[in-house]
Symmetry: C2
Subunit: 254 residues, 2 copies
């Protein structure tokens, strides 16, 4: 039986600890091809590169593991992999393990999730995985364990077309279990530190903190993470607000 | 009565023809503040800039119109405007008029829509506007007309929290009317031209074409545009696939 082909990418770059941990953790599940950005691309969302050419460098090719770095964004990596480097659609896409949470509204900004959505657009069962910790010395073992569990399930069952998964794992040991959740409602506030550059000109550094609009919703991913559970949110690429279609039609006819 | 405060941004840059046409077209509706990228930022999705500082330059301040350029992405522009430059949330955000279509799956990649979603995250009624034509000499008059109509409605009614609007206007004259639509299902295929750089190394230029998975769906935005109508799609920032929650729960318990 042919082994599954698993495409792995991330937004922290091909040299990040999180992607190495993921590759080792799922290596037994299939033939792995890594196509990941040449350096950090955090916060790149679903950005694509159209005004500059992309480049890919083969870094490693051994039994069951091929590794490329790519000059572009996480989404560029997925597009280049599927269109050019793999020669076919993979059976599974894993993006991560991201250094830092991608729960709640972070799905909109995250390059990890951008890559996951791109796999989904191509009809590939896709999972983004994040550990809620930014430290370089993070322990990825629990995140790897849950990533592998989800990957094994999805390789068996597939996912409905247009749907992918966002897995966040809390930075505790042991994690209490896995919960299927919804995307927590909220936003980032007070986002800038105002400073001066070396010429005295005003500059703005992005920072801020997340405001949770539903801190008591037990189904939300932030709630599950705070309770010590891994949070698995199904995401869809169709952003249409179906519930508002009729009312919008009425508004526009008035 | 105090005039509404209208924030205008785009992803083609502060000097683009489309944003000038939009500003002139809606100027009578309120006090306009433009915070737009210093140059083209197409395909930037909801990317944010966290590793470099942002800068804003005041380009113009006259009665009812203030214009800043910003060094960042479209989403950076909206964040900087709301957090620092405006001093309060605007009553309306308009993003565009984009040079080129943002129908169907382009909502995922578009900086125009990235900025629109960001306004929505802040609870600001937000509309992204695109003309389905890339020519520098495009006629924006019909797109401006429909943008103004939608802006006037939304200033009156507001939008449900978490919902924003994606308006695409076909490049014909006259446009036949406006239809409320859904995001067309589909994807971009055959995306790369493979070429060589000056040293003979392989490079990849992004291109390709859109494959429409539902060409006969009369409610889809691509269908409305092809029939000569402006297409208005309500988008939501909650990407949770609610319809798949229960099944996913069962899969993970097996």
């Amino acid at each position: 039986m042919k082994k599954p082909l698993i495409l792995i990418t991330n937004d922290d770059g091909v040299a990040a600890q999180g992607i190495s941990a993921l590759v080792e953790g799922v290596r037994a599940l299939g033939d792995i091809v890594v196509v990941a950005p040449s350096g950090p691309r955090s916060g790149m969302s679903s950005a694509i590169t159209s005004e500059e050419p992309l480049r890919a460098n083969l870094l490693k090719k051994e039994d069951g593991l091929t590794v490329y770095s790519c000059s572009g964004t996480p989404v560029d990596c997925v597009k280049l992999a599927i269109n050019e480097l793999l020669g076919r659609k993979p059976d599974l896409l894993l993006s991560g393990i991201n250094h830092g949470s991608n729960a709640a509204i972070c799905v909109i900004y995250s390059g990890t999730i951008g890559a996951t959505l791109e796999g989904c657009i191509w009809g590939v069962p896709s999972v983004g995985i994040s550990l809620t910790d930014h430290e370089l010395t993070s322990d990825f073992s629990e995140a790897v364990k849950y990533a592998k569990t989800v990957a094994e399930k999805i390789l068996q069952t597939g996912l409905p077309h247009g749907t992918c998964l966002n897995l966040n794992v809390p930075n505790i040991y042991p994690v209490k279990g896995l919960q299927v959740c919804t995307q927590t409602k909220g936003y980032w506030n007070k986002e800038f530190e105002v400073a001066k550059d070396q010429y005295g000109r005003t500059i703005y550094w992005m920072g801020g903190y997340f405001v949770n609009d539903e801190p008591n919703n037990p189904q939300s991913d932030e709630y599950a993470l705070a309770q010590g559970y891994a949070a698995l949110v199904p995401l869809q690429i169709d952003m249409t607000s179906y519930g508002f279609l009729d009312e919008l039609g009425k508004i526009m006819q008035q």
